[in-house]
Symmetry: C2
Subunit: 421 residues, 2 copies
């Protein structure tokens, strides 16, 4: 059995690589036509896809999946419509492929530039939401990549039904069906194979819980675009305009709790702590946000604030809890963020030009902000048109990753007979 | 012993990370001052460094190292001067750090852009040439990174002597001495530790033989900037100007043999094979280049051409040997290159506009050329000012890698109180 999974995944990889060669030469029109054909195929298959999803839902209830997971799994007619709208949005995105930049002459007479090209083959590993199947497939096609999709076992029927429609659309448009392949086994060994298919797969994009991503990162021999944690900070500096600091600190914590760009620790300069903390604490109290503070915070806000432990500074609560610490100034704030943070998104609130520049330069995070809510760290808010994910790595893609994250640049050299002297 | 190497490398990593925080905030002037102080320190230590190198040379001769290796190991006064000139060149390079690009307003009123920042800590693993110690250290400092250097055991004394001078310079300039650390043990376990110090090291740059690089790539859990092979091709297309094809094919093979951007396989369109091959074969014969051809090549050039095996198409000879194949046209040429090549550098010789565009688009290599010698694939020829290495990977850095390869970009967001709606 182990052997046959290996053979199966090898074949999937080989087919994807072959399809990727075709895609590398496909024009924007070719790709948009394929996406439009997929759109029609999905429209025509709506009853089958929703029926397949109901099968997954029934099995999920039998397996006693928790209600949050079942909710993410369900495809309603409204969600189906949203999925199709997402596909339309991808069709209207600018094609990043083929763009030539920095083309310049060298003293030797050769002309050198960079051309944006697809990565080749993307391996995507994700959980529950079946709409990711279409989203990932459409972004891959738009950026000229083949994609291998490995969804969760709980969504197998839904994913296969969506895949059937996608492949029908590819066929109608004359694009290789292996452009999008959905793994048809729930055997976990398939994931182990996929993340080590170096010969055929160029990048792995995992989406899901921290343990899934950690496992993939540790075992993959292929580069992974991922983020593990969003432990985001806001530092209210001594020269902060408190009329800005209050709404931003409220928004960053309470706009949505379960998201990676929510603030998890609030740092306050000791010089404004007495003026700022009682006001923000009142706003948090209205939203029933639990505060965990350092001793100085407890002194100002009283015993209602629980003590923060060392562990709290590292924690991404993803809920209505906030760690609060008073710091002696910007140096302590930056040190705290670089030490305890997850290099995701951190903001300073200040009117001081020099300190804003210092914070921007020295905080080692994928997004660093001045006088804005951390909640803005998002591919759509950044104007990328789509979001593959948010990366806290420094290599390749960093921060919100759009279509460009699925591309690379190669050098091109144009000459008229030059040889090296 | 194993345990103490682990502790030693952990401390080295921790110190490097700490130094990297300092460097992230260092100005261009700070960095140039440090490089100038290192220049003076090296000038003053020339006798000690050359004496240390003589110790290595003596030990190398006792260990019967081969003469090519001993030649690479030796530091003569002339080479020492060249090393110092290289440092001067790095001082005059433009500082890539802090550059802000694409700063634009979004409809929400926030301003979004990208800021170029250091990667943090670079781990460099290399063999023999002690001048790499200075070259790598100076490029790291210029790009705001701390660096951990692990040279070969054969160059231990030389590397330590150079490191002593570098650290003296850093101290004089008031920069942390841990900015540049040279591993002081020849225990190979230190390499295994270095390439898995994910907490402290951001990128690994290996330089050396293929087996060293393969081992590092397989075992590293940190991203690696590397290339393994340079199996480069030139395709003489049917509409090639043979007055360009002949000098380019000669230059790409014979300008230097042992380099990664030398041509290893020549592909010739069947429509020009009879006109082209006898001429180029004559030029190669003058240079005593051995030809290995497909049956069609043998038919045209006669029995002096050895038959090429399947293995030949994969081989990087790094010497005066060339594989030659006649192909039916551009599609077969592209397929051959993408299958057998190493994604390093490949060129087409043609006057046909459409085929030139097709080759540029569909050949999946880090440098793709039209009517120019593959020998141009080089950081200095490309105008990068310095070369960290040549990468055949698609992620992060591709092709010749300059200072920018040791940097990343983070997002910056500037607002005046915006919150997410």
């Amino acid at each position: 059995m182990q052997d046959s999974i290996e053979q199966y995944m090898h074949r999937v990889g080989q087919n994807a690589r072959k399809a990727s060669r075709y895609l590398a030469g496909a024009s924007t029109l070719d790709k948009n036509n394929a996406l439009s054909a997929i759109y029609s195929a999905l429209q025509n298959s709506e009853p089958q896809i929703l029926a397949a999803n109901q099968l997954d839902m029934t099995k999920g209830r039998e397996r006693n999946l928790d209600s949050a997971l079942l909710d993410r799994l369900e495809l309603t007619p409204t969600r189906f419509k949203g999925m199709l709208q997402g596909l339309k949005d991808v069709i209207s995105l600018v094609d990043p492929i083929g763009e030539i930049t920095d083309l310049a002459y060298r003293p030797t007479g050769i002309q050198i530039g960079k051309m944006r090209v697809p990565l080749g083959v993307v391996g995507m590993i994700y959980e529950s939401r079946p709409n990711v199947t279409l989203e990932a497939a459409s972004l891959a096609i738009k950026s000229g990549n083949a994609i291998i999709l490995r969804g969760g076992s709980e969504a197998l029927e839904s994913n296969q039904a969506i895949a059937t429609a996608i492949q029908h659309g590819l066929k109608v448009a004359g694009m290789p069906e292996d452009t999008v392949q959905v793994i048809n086994t729930t055997d976990r060994a398939a994931v182990g194979q996929l993340i080590t298919l170096n010969e055929f797969v160029d990048v792995i994009v995992p989406r899901g819980g921290k343990s899934l991503i950690e496992r993939i990162t540790n075992e993959a021999t292929i580069p992974v675009i991922k983020h593990l944690d969003g432990n985001c900070h806001i530092f209210v500096e001594a020269q902060a305009d408190l009329h800005k600091a209050l709404p931003i600190a409220l928004n960053a914590k309470t706009h949505r709790y379960g998201v990676c760009n929510a603030m998890e620790t609030l740092l306050v300069d000791e010089k404004v702590a007495e003026a700022f903390l009682p006001h923000i604490a009142e706003l948090y109290a209205e939203k029933q946000v639990e505060l965990r503070g350092c001793p100085d915070v407890q002194r100002i806000l009283g015993a209602s604030v629980k003590p923060a432990t060392e562990e709290d500074w590292y924690t991404e609560y993803l809920g209505p809890i906030l760690a609060v610490k008073i710091v002696s100034g910007i140096d302590e704030a930056i040190e705290h963020i670089n030490k305890y943070g997850s290099h995701h998104t951190d903001a300073i609130i200040t009117e001081n030009f020099t300190l804003a520049r210092k914070f921007l330069t020295q905080v080692d995070s994928s997004s660093v902000m001045v006088n804005a809510s951390t909640r803005f760290a998002d591919g759509f808010e950044y104007g990328l048109g789509a979001e593959i994910g948010i990366s806290t790595d420094k290599i390749h893609a960093r921060g919100p990753v759009g279509l460009e994250g699925l591309t690379s640049q190669k050098w091109i050299v144009l000459g008229d007979g030059q040889i090296r002297q």
